[in-house]
């Protein structure tokens, strides 16, 4: 009889707590968004599934010697998984459009205002007593505005590991929501005439320029913002492997097997941070609210910077591509293109938007470097 009781006590039905059940539903909801709505499925499927596993009662999966805890210890707490993913993204990135029109880098810079405004917002809400965020936590929340998954995970791993789960979920969810968040802001800040601006075809770019660019970028980072060197270094390394064309097999592995393996492990590791006790706290709501503000501000400042540049230059920029400066590659560039087509069906902005789009990646890693150096 006592054994039957022990058996009953071993079941999940007996042991499960309400918060664990809620988290399992949240995990299922993330999977639903990923599968049915195509919300960044590459990350949200492992994160959602990992989140479910982490909240199964009576068994150590995300804590102690559990498999997800081991994954997190191996590659999330150490930064290895996000850096490998970033290396792979580097190996998939084409800097050609940016090299053809380097001026658009300023759009990628402006969009980072979203990061710092959100940081201030988080601290302001702490001051008025709504939340209680430290400087490091506020910085980690701000980086959601960078619209760059691995960067957000890497930075929050360094600055605020206790918020990592919520920040990662917010970052990927909002990246998926870019087609909903951005267009109203873009339309509100531009005139019909501006949205019709046609840009000149970009010049062809030498392969040599493409090979030299990641090195130029790395050296400049080393000289100005060394704190961004781990992130941008791995990114540039991936890009150099791709562009130099003499290590095709390494570049191919970095773009396929290695980034896929790192993505699976990264996603599951992030999922291990969705333990009920850590996720179901008031701060998570604050993070979700501030994250969407960060995206909105970044979008607006990108568009406004384009308009500012147009005041000083003959070659007009279509301000819609400024919105692509938030990163969210390549979603934001596609959104710019789509909104442009609404005003002029023959005006394809996608190539022009790719420049600020990848500049946004550079911009947010620089911001990340500053935050890591001064907020930790």
């Amino acid at each position: 009889m006592s054994q039957l009781v022990a058996l009953w006590h071993s079941t999940g039905i007996y042991q499960i707590s309400i918060p664990q059940a809620v988290m399992i539903f949240i995990g299922l909801f993330l999977l639903y968004l990923a599968v049915a709505k195509r919300f960044e499925p590459l990350l949200l499927i492992p994160i959602g599934f990992g989140g479910i596993l982490s909240n199964i009662p009576g068994v150590d999966i995300a804590v102690g010697d559990g498999i997800l805890a081991q994954f997190a210890g191996m590659g999330l707490d150490t930064g290895i998984f996000p850096l490998l993913v970033f290396m792979g993204i580097g190996a998939m990135t084409d800097f050609g459009p940016l090299l053809a029109n380097p001026r658009t880098m300023l759009l990628g810079a402006a969009a980072q205002i979203g990061i710092f405004s959100t940081l201030l917002g988080a601290l302001f809400m702490t001051q008025i007593g709504v939340f209680d965020f430290s400087l490091a936590q506020a910085a980690a929340i701000g980086i959601i505005g960078g619209a760059d998954g691995p960067t957000a995970i890497y930075v929050s791993g360094v600055l605020a590991p206790e918020l990592l789960g919520a920040i990662a979920v917010a970052a990927y969810s909002y990246m998926a929501l870019v087609p909903l968040i951005q267009p109203p802001i873009m339309r509100a800040l531009t005139t019909e005439e501006e949205r019709r601006i046609r840009m000149r075809l970009p010049r062809e770019v030498h392969q040599t320029e493409k090979i030299l660019f990641p090195l130029v970028l790395l050296i400049l980072v080393a000289l100005i913002v060394p704190g961004a060197a781990p992130l941008l270094g791995m990114f540039c390394f991936g890009n150099l492997m791709k562009e130099c064309r003499v290590v095709a097999r390494l570049s191919d592995t970095a773009q396929n097997a290695l980034i896929n393996i790192a993505t699976i492990f990264l996603g599951l590791s992030v999922g291990s941070k969705l333990i009920a006790d850590e996720f179901l706290v008031g701060e998570t709501l604050g993070i979700l609210a501030l994250g969407v503000v960060a995206f909105a501000i970044g979008t607006a400042t990108g568009v406004l910077m384009a308009k500012l540049l147009n005041m000083f230059s003959e070659r007009k920029i279509n301000p819609l591509i400024g919105a692509a400066g938030v990163s969210a590659v390549p979603m934001a560039a596609r959104v710019a293109n789509k909104v442009g087509i609404e005003s002029d069906p023959d005006n394809f902005l996608i190539m022009h938007a790719m420049g600020p789009n990848v500049a946004g990646v550079i911009g947010s890693t620089i911001a990340a470097g500053v935050l890591i150096q001064f907020a930790s």
Partner: protein, 76 residues
């Protein structure tokens, strides 16, 4: 607390400043690099291997596409 917001303000100013300074410098350096490359490598050279591969790939694609559509038209 007051202190925290002012710290954050400083961080935001310096942060955005660094981002803009960095990307402005990057524009200049990149521009210079591109000019140098265009000066010393005036043509657009593609590695032989790459061009060959692309040509074969395009041909192969064309051939296979043609074969498939021919096959389809026969079948239908």
């Amino acid at each position: 607390m007051e202190n925290l917001v002012s710290q954050g303000f400083e961080l935001a100013i310096f942060g955005m400043g660094t981002v803009f300074v960095f990307l402005t410098l990057l524009i200049l350096v990149t521009h210079g690099m591109s000019l140098l490359v265009q000066k010393y490598e005036p043509e657009l050279p593609k590695t032989a291997a790459q061009t060959a591969t692309q040509k074969v790939d395009r041909h192969l694609l064309a051939v296979i596409t043609a074969a498939i559509s021919e096959h389809r038209s026969k079948r239908d």
